[in-house]
Amino acid sequence: MTDTGYRKIEILLDAPLVPRLVDIARQAGITGYTIFPTLGGAGQGGLWSEDLVAGADTKVLFWTVVSLDKAAALQDAVEPLLTAYGMVWVATAADVLRPGRF
């Protein structure tokens, strides 16, 4: 797999923070993304699982496929917030089709 210059970036974050992240992504030139649900997990903050009552700490996955330069711009914008927002960031080299779109 030659690096085609695209990245799939996955950011796990609390549901109420999604609009904030979408704004940040837009400023980094990213307009395409998809949100995935989760069922639960564990980390330093202990175990959690979906509960209705308080959606405040329900996690979702922000999933976006972008070119290298947008990936770098997003990383720069998101990095300072990672700890305060308790987000998990993962980037993977990805092959895309119709590359102009991303």
Partner: protein, 319 residues
């Protein structure tokens, strides 16, 4: 006081106890998330309608205005003593103390519902307009909490206009006030055809919802890593103090005993839906595990079981 405690053996509370027991015992019993969300929307629509219809029947009154003003004032000022207690006895930093105080200034819809159930079955039904007061009391404390977070700390993150919009148009505020208005418009006759769902079904649905609340509260309490004994004690002390303040204010403005009791219950209750979401957005540095454990896993169960009878007793004593 044994009469006051009788509601503890109502099916509604027993289902809460069942849920909490199952949660502590690590049973895998679980209400699907969307079902629980659906039940809570139903409960809000139903109490909104009920309140609106009661006001449609009783008409507007000075009492109603006084109750609204009292509720607003409580929601604005209760965060202040709470903040002070959390800083001083709870040893919380400014940001976390501010976030928690916003929760205690705001209100819990389900605590309100349980209070109305208990009071009505004890012959002290509160006025229908208290649903509108409930909706009014949901959001001001959020703003006050944010001001507390910022005072002396310019760096605390801010959400600005977005947050205000989000808070005022919060789903539960919109659904409560909207259903209240619909109740006002359609009145008792218009309600007849939908009463089987929104009236006859109410207590049964409440049982199922409280079953879930018990499960969630127990899991939150078990899973919390930052809830100290001091904070847990405050999560019981603060509602008692806030409840007493609410009852004094309510009695002072001349409301009837049932209505004073529910105003005290509202003052004592802490939000665990609208405020956590707003705080996660506006003060991401604050620990959601903490404020949810306090409001949902300690204060809510306390209020639902011992708190409501206690506030009723206080109100009856003063009234």
């Amino acid at each position: 006081m044994s009469g006051m405690l009788a509601p503890l053996l109502s099916p509604v509370i027993l289902f809460f106890v069942l849920g909490a027991t199952a949660g502590f015992a690590r049973s895998d019993l679980a209400i699907p998330e969307q079902i629980a969300k659906g039940l809570s929307l139903y409960l809000m629509a139903a109490i909104g309608l009920k309140g609106g219809i009661e006001v449609a029947e009783a008409g507007f009154s000075v009492d109603m205005l006084m109750a609204a003003i009292a509720g607003l004032a409580l929601s604005c000022f209760l965060p202040l003593p709470v903040f002070w207690m959390l800083r001083r006895f709870g040893r919380l930093d400014r940001i976390n103390a501010a976030a928690v105080s916003a929760h205690y200034g705001s209100v819990s819809v389900v605590t309100f519902v349980a209070g109305v159930e208990v009071l009505s079955s004890s012959g002290l039904p509160p006025q229908g307009y208290m649903v509108a007061v409930l909706a009014l009391m949901e959001t001001p404390a959020i703003v006050v909490g944010l001001m507390l977070a910022r005072s002396g700390n310019r760096e605390a993150s801010t959400a600005g206009a977005g947050l205000l919009h989000e808070t005022l148009l919060n789903g539960s505020v919109v659904l409560l006030s909207g259903s209240f208005l619909i109740g006002l418009i359609v009145g008792p006759e218009g309600f007849v055809s939908i009463a089987p769902v929104f009236e006859s079904g109410f207590r049964g649905v409440l049982c199922l919802f409280l079953l879930d609340m018990g499960l969630v509260a127990a899991r939150r309490l078990r899973g919390s890593r930052t809830l100290t004994a001091r904070l847990a004690a405050l999560a019981i002390l603060m509602p008692i103090i806030n409840g007493a303040i609410g009852i004094i204010v309510g009695t002072a403005v001349g409301l009837d005993v049932g209505t004073v009791s529910i105003l005290g219950t509202l003052a004592a209750s802490a939000s665990y839906i609208a405020v956590p979401a707003a705080m996660r957005l506006a003060l991401p540095e604050a620990d959601p595990g903490l404020y949810l454990a306090m409001s949902l896993a300690v204060t809510f169960p306390f209020n639902i079981t011992l708190g409501i009878p206690l506030y009723t007793l206080m109100a009856t004593g003063l009234g």
